[in-house]
Structures are given as structure tokens and as C-alpha cells.
Symmetry: C2
Subunit: 238 residues, 2 copies
């Protein structure tokens, strides 16, 4: 068992604290979350927060670095995959347009997966709070994830619509597209009441995905032709 000792006791405490901190911060907000409550949830002593992170604020930032690492692991492969597929078919014309649309479906499918399976409710609450009042933690979030995802969508939208990739119009479209799928996690209360989805079951997510695909296809019409999906079934990319 010297293997588990490879991560020192301190490192384990550190991660345990971060995981508990995400839960407590997300529930109460930064100010109302007490370091005592975080320590209790983590099963460690309160003094260890100061020892490992220096202050409550620094613990808060550490939680964002932690979440960012996980989110980036999901986004980066998407970026690479898109670049590869586009490089393989570098020519212009309707085929490229259809490829871009297929890639868009794949990317958005992956985003739906990411936010429905991997991203916890508490993560959503934390990320949303920073969106509302961007602070130090938000810069991490934007630079690390949001900007990459939005740029990726712009690239694809640009190819499908012929809008310039850097244009405001294209960026707005990317923004709206993201809103269309993220609303499922943002308006949790409305989803519960209006759709009757207490929790996001795999079945619910599948139904949502079907409607989103319909919406996507009509939003960005391509010339009618047989669909050649780039990576198997849409959205199975991981």
C-alpha cells in the first residue's frame, strides 16, 4: 500500500477539502459558506484550510482550478478532433459545409453529455455565480474553457453560414447555440416543474438531444444530400 502513500497525506487532504468546498460554496455562495462547514464536510480540521490554502478566498480559487482541469480534459480533445477533421477535408464547397454541420452536431452532443453527465449540479451553480458577477475566478474559467468552446463553435458556424468567423453576428449565433443547450442545466427549477424532470435521467437527456438535433438541422440548413456523419452516431464522441 505504499502506492497510495505516493500521494502524501497532505495532498489527499487538499483534494478532499476542494471537493467539499465545491459543494458548500455552491450551496451558500462564497460569503455565506463557512470554512467550518467545509472542514466538517471534508472530515478534516478547520485549521487545515488556512494551512493548505492560506485563506478562504484561495480555497475558492483552488476549486475553480480543480473544475477547470476536468472541463479542459473534455474540451481539448473536441478542439483537436475538429481541427483534424477539417484538415482532412480542406477543400471548400457544399461537402465542407456539411462536414461542418456534422461536426457541430458532434460538438454540441459532447457539450450536452458533458453538462448532463459529468458536470455536477454544484459545479453549475458555482460556474453560474461567476458568470453573474465575474471575479478573479472567472478569468480562469473564461480563458480555460468558455473562450475555447465559443471559438470552436464560431469556426463551425462560420463555415455553415458564411458569416465571417470573427464577426459579431457569428459570435452571437455561437452564444445562442450554447444557451439553447445549457438552459437545461441553468433552469433546473423550470425543467423540474415544466418537463417533470426531477433529475436528468439518461432518457431525459436523450429526448432533449433529439429535439436539439432537429432544431440544429433546421437552423443551419445545408443542401439536401445523404448525411455522412464524421464520427459515427452524432454525439457519441467522448
Amino acid at each position: 500500500m505504499t502506492n497510495t502513500d505516493a500521494v502524501s497525506r497532505g495532498d489527499h487532504t487538499r483534494e478532499t477539502l476542494i471537493i467539499s468546498a465545491i459543494e458548500v460554496f455552491s450551496h451558500s455562495g462564497f460569503d455565506a459558506a463557512s470554512t467550518r462547514a467545509i472542514a466538517v464536510a471534508a472530515g478534516v480540521n478547520q485549521g487545515l484550510i488556512s494551512y493548505h490554502f492560506g485563506s478562504k478566498q484561495r480555497l475558492y480559487l483552488a476549486t475553480f482550478e480543480y473544475m477547470l482541469d476536468h472541463l479542459q480534459c473534455q474540451i481539448k480533445p473536441l478542439e483537436q478532433m475538429v481541427s483534424q477533421e477539417l484538415a482532412k477535408a480542406a477543400h471548400v464547397g457544399p461537402e465542407r459545409r456539411e462536414l461542418a454541420l456534422n461536426l457541430m452536431q458532434t460538438v454540441m452532443g459532447a457539450v450536452i453529455d458533458l453538462f448532463s453527465e459529468q458536470v455536477d449540479d454544484s459545479w453549475v451553480r458555482l460556474l453560474l455565480r461567476e458568470q453573474q458577477e465575474p471575479g478573479e475566478a472567472y478569468k480562469l474559467l473564461y480563458d480555460g474553457v468558455m473562450s475555447h468552446l465559443l471559438s470552436l463553435l464560431c469556426r463551425l458556424i462560420s463555415m455553415v453560414t458564411d458569416l465571417p468567423e470573427e464577426s459579431e453576428a457569428c459570435r452571437i449565433r455561437a452564444f445562442m447555440l450554447l444557451g439553447q443547450v445549457l438552459i437545461l442545466r441553468i433552469a433546473t427549477g423550470a425543467a423540474t416543474c415544466f418537463l417533470g424532470w426531477e433529475t436528468l435521467s439518461a432518457c431525459n437527456v436523450a429526448a432533449f438531444r433529439v429535439q436539439f438535433q432537429h432544431s440544429l438541422e433546421s437552423q443551419f440548413p445545408v443542401l439536401p444530400s445523404c448525411s455522412t456523419n464524421v464520427s459515427g452516431e452524432a454525439g457519441t464522441y467522448n
Copy 2:
């Protein structure tokens, strides 16, 4: 000046406290918001919160009742207008479908107006927080506004797409549609960084509205015919 005395000093204090409470609650969250800070922001004594509302929790609920009144004043006329327009043209067929699409544009335009001009940043933060962890205040919000707005959209979507109004598919589409426009207020941080919109100027909102109209038209295609907008320019309805 007996006219201004018609609202007693107490009523004025009450409203002042509510307005300040919205600001403070939205910034810090319920737990971290201090009644002291609210009282200072309102320029009244801290003890008056207990006197007028009984407790911090009741003040919190009062803020939602206050916001709800304002939101309902915007939503109800929309519902009535849609019902009237649909009653006037009660027949089926492509004309009705196009009417429904025009009504959808008008309704969503009004929603964009509502959330960009009338609904304050602090309102958005409060409403979002309740969405994330629905509490007592959320029931007020859902029954008073959200359910009405979503049902209205379902009615129109159903006519344009032939999806049954009560079907899950139709409800999901309504949900996504709302997400597409609300993202502008929800992802404030991303809007600032990615679109460069520090504040939502009228110009920014106009650009957003244009892109949304494009998206809407392609999402819900009707048979090509001359557009007969129901109430003048789309979205000028108030």
C-alpha cells in the same frame, strides 16, 4: 402634498427596504446578505426589517412578490394579445401557421425587451439562484411567470410544428427557445468577454435580436409567402 402622504411612511419604508433587499440579496445570496447592509442601503433602521416583515426570510419572499408583480404586468398582456390574434384568425392552414410564427417573433421580441431593459442584473441573479435551488420563493416565480411564458410558447410552437401542445417534444422546444435568448443575461461574463459587451446597450440588444430572428425563421420554417406581421415591426409590442 397630501397626495404623497396617501402612501403612508410605513409603506414607503417597506418598498425602499424591498428594493435595497433585491440588490443586497442578489449580490451575496440569502445567507450572506445581512439585514444591516439592507437597512443601510435603504437608509432606514435595521430594526424596521423585523417590524415590517417579521424576519429576514419573509423579507426575501417579499422581494419575489415584488418582482413577480412587475414581471406579470409584462407577461399577461402578451398572453391576451396572442389569444386575441388567434381568435381573430381561428381557421387552420398555412395562414394560421404563419400567424403563429409572427406571434412567436413578437412574443420573443418582448421577452428580449423585458430582460434587457426592464429586468435588472440583480433581478436576474435572484431569479437564477432560485432556479438552481428551488425554494419557497420559486413556487411563486414558476406559477406566476415561468409557467405562463412556457405554455404560451408551447401553444405557438405547436401550431408551427404540428407537435402536440402538451407533448414533451413541444415543451423541450419551448425550453430551448427561451434558453436561446436568456443566455444573454445569464452568461453575463461570457457576453462581456466574448462579445465585448460591457453593458447591454440598445445597440447590442438590437444586434442580438437580428440574429435571433434569423435563427427563429430557419428553426421554424413556414411556406414561403409575403410576411404579414401582426403588430407592426416585430418586437415593438409592449
